[in-house]
Symmetry: C2
Subunit: 150 residues, 2 copies
């Protein structure tokens, strides 16, 4: 006899989130140019929105991946010529990552390639409050993030 604590609503929430994450990754990577993975595209997209260069550690934290994973992702992007990695002159440990013109172009191509999927989704979710949904999820993400650190 399942009681109230069995299979709580939060299970279902995380289950949906996991499945959507999987489906979205597959959908995105299917159309990505330059063999970009979602992780690589996310980094490019992130960099394209900022003027200042970013430290790898900061980005690893922003995307919630390990430092090793970020090293790997940045290495792939550097090999493709989409980012440039330079030492931090003020801190011998640190580095800075900057996006190149080629990287910006690749990011634009990727956004264009995603266009049809996003347009389709946008059409289907027109009745949804996507911003509100995102905001709620962001709050939950911050909670999980804080608990992980604490």
């Amino acid at each position: 006899m399942p009681n109230k604590s069995d299979d709580p609503a939060l299970f279902r929430l995380f289950n949906e989130i996991g499945i959507i994450s999987q489906l979205a990754t597959t959908m995105f990577e299917r159309v990505m140019p330059h063999d970009l993975t979602l992780a690589q595209f996310s980094v490019l997209n992130h960099l394209s929105k900022r003027d200042d260069q970013q430290a790898p550690a900061k980005m690893a934290n922003a995307f919630q991946v390990s430092k090793g994973t970020m090293t790997s992702t940045l290495g792939k992007l550097e090999a493709k010529g989409f980012v440039v990695i330079t030492p931090n002159p003020k801190d011998g440990r640190g580095k800075f990552v900057g996006i190149t013109a080629t990287g910006l172009a690749a990011r634009s191509e990727a956004v264009a390639a995603l266009g049809p999927d996003l347009a389709w989704l946008s059409d289907k979710t027109v009745s949804h409050d996507v911003s509100g949904l995102t905001q709620q999820l962001a709050t939950i993400r911050e909670l999980l993030d804080a608990r992980r650190d604490g």
Copy 2:
């Protein structure tokens, strides 16, 4: 000059979903007994809620993983004695997966182990409409699922 299609709200939505998926998986697996992965627990949890036995292909579809992945996950659970896999007598291709008493117990242990994390989250998200949120996500998941097949 970013236009309307640049960095749409849907990017941010999927970004949040991906990060939460990652954080939740880590949080869950940190406390899981019997070295259960989230995938393994999800399968156990799924089976614990049904009386009828499930076909691997059906479960792969339900969880949106490849058939190969489901073969692997079920193999791990079978090795731990948490499920039993039998041939489908009516269809030489098919199999059936059933949960064992040990599997049910392990699933209960896992739920108990998740208790503190879930209680904490439940407390923090009391102001959120978790069911509503889940429902919205389920709708989006169904859309993605349908597009993938179609």
